[in-house]
Symmetry: C2
Subunit: 337 residues, 2 copies
Amino acid sequence: MEDSISAKRQPMQNLKSARAGTFRLENSSNELDPSDLQPASSFEFDAYLKSRVRLIEQALEPCAIQTGGPGERLSEAMRYSLLSGGKRLRPILALGACEAVGGRIENAMGLACAIEMIHTYSMIHDDLPCMDNDDLRRGKPTNHKVYGEAIATLAGDALLTDAFGIVARNTPAGVSRIALVETIAELSSAAGSAGMVGGQTIDLMDEGRSVSIEDLEYLHSRKTGALFVAAVMGGGRLGGGNAAQLAALGAYARAIGLAFQVIDDLLDVEGSTEQMGKRTQKDHQRGKVTYPSLLGVEASREFAEALRLKAGEALSEFDYHAEPLRRLANFAVERNS
Amino acid sequence: MEDSISAKRQPMQNLKSARAGTFRLENSSNELDPSDLQPASSFEFDAYLKSRVRLIEQALEPCAIQTGGPGERLSEAMRYSLLSGGKRLRPILALGACEAVGGRIENAMGLACAIEMIHTYSMIHDDLPCMDNDDLRRGKPTNHKVYGEAIATLAGDALLTDAFGIVARNTPAGVSRIALVETIAELSSAAGSAGMVGGQTIDLMDEGRSVSIEDLEYLHSRKTGALFVAAVMGGGRLGGGNAAQLAALGAYARAIGLAFQVIDDLLDVEGSTEQMGKRTQKDHQRGKVTYPSLLGVEASREFAEALRLKAGEALSEFDYHAEPLRRLANFAVERNS
């Protein structure tokens, strides 16, 4: 990837000229704030997180444009779910991985938005009556409860489809097109039959069956893990990371992807509907096998802790630019919603 | 697009070395037959069509691989709809447009497969109970009738998602990556909220409303036309076509996309369920506005005929390489199923 050198971080004195070419989505007047581009050597994690959420939500805003006319209902439904809050963890990881290899975050902003659009579509379709049949998501009625099943299905389809155009169009020209095509290919694999959709199928077929700890890990590596890996490795690739860096980022992403799921299972047992913004205890009610049901609560916590350490170790060769990723691993394990 | 010169057709004596780099999907042992690469100067259209269908179905075969294991049900459902026959008109158009600008068809084979996967997903989701609620497609039970709603939804999601990886991975390295990224971006727009999904939404919202001829044309330009345009312009772009050629191909595709829809409306009135392999008369039963219901049968036929001529005129600057596209315009209008 010699041709992606131009995508590397420029010295800070070039910031002004750099800003002129920063990420700008169609119809967006939002530009990056220079203060968001400061090196991540020593920083307040909470402030960092808030600033990243704000940046990502600014970039997501024009990803589902208000069309007007008879198709307006579709963009309303897309916006309802895409702009309804959430941790924005996957896109933050994409930007963090880009930073970790010394890349500029706008190189990964198209990918970050695409990943969040795909995550959002998967929740809309997952909540449908023919799937998990859920009424509540992020403390609000699910998409089909508001817009009906037909529009919810189409809104999911549109978010998924549009996501590939967002990353294809909004990755700066300075980023290698070879790296961009590779990133698109991996995003497709991570989200499709070999990844997330395949994992959702296994989850569906597994309901009520006996499942081993290996089965459970395989399920989650596809259902949740693959999109984490696509976010982190894609962010690193678009930031100009080399093969060794991408391999390390892959190991990091697999560890925190699984840790995230273990914590999700624990919160389903321990959290309240108010705290989580969605129905809890549902895994248990459906006879779904989870980490707490297989290992117990205590051993599940220890497992998540071990994965957090593993994620940190994967980053041992990185310098201070990887500090956000290190803190994000803690965040994924320590969160309570 | 100077950098796509290497993607141009090589002299026929280079065929052997060319074949070594031809389109080969993962897990596929199928290669192109040299007889399929002969210039399209004088040819039997029926034989051409059969040969193209065979080539495309060989290439589609590994696009939904049999996974085995607990996720096998998903690949079964994907294969059920993807490999259930059909005219394969959109992928044939993609290859024909690539040929028309002097490109080699394997340059557009990844796109051709992606287009057919997206077309297939749209039919699976369209047939769902919450959408058109259809029981029959291509003379067989619809996907959800065989696999249930949940798996049918996921099979559609997977075909759509995987399609972008298929075109990203299976477009030969000799094709400009800039052209490939542009093609992916246009495929996303054609299939997503600005194109097909947007058109489906309008169709849904229009049911029972009063619709003008302009409304109907706008609806179909998005619901059906956009994917025709993506197939034809994408094929031309990956074949190394210049801006003037792409503009002409766009005009051709818009004309035959609309002609195809007018004929579809006519066949819904005039065709039998046996002949069409799907329920007919359904537009009328639902009170949907169609070309025959707005213009009458005779004027609809004349309109299709005018569009056929318009498509032919759009290709006036092309040489014998565009002969397949010219014949395909006739085929789209003269078909009876």
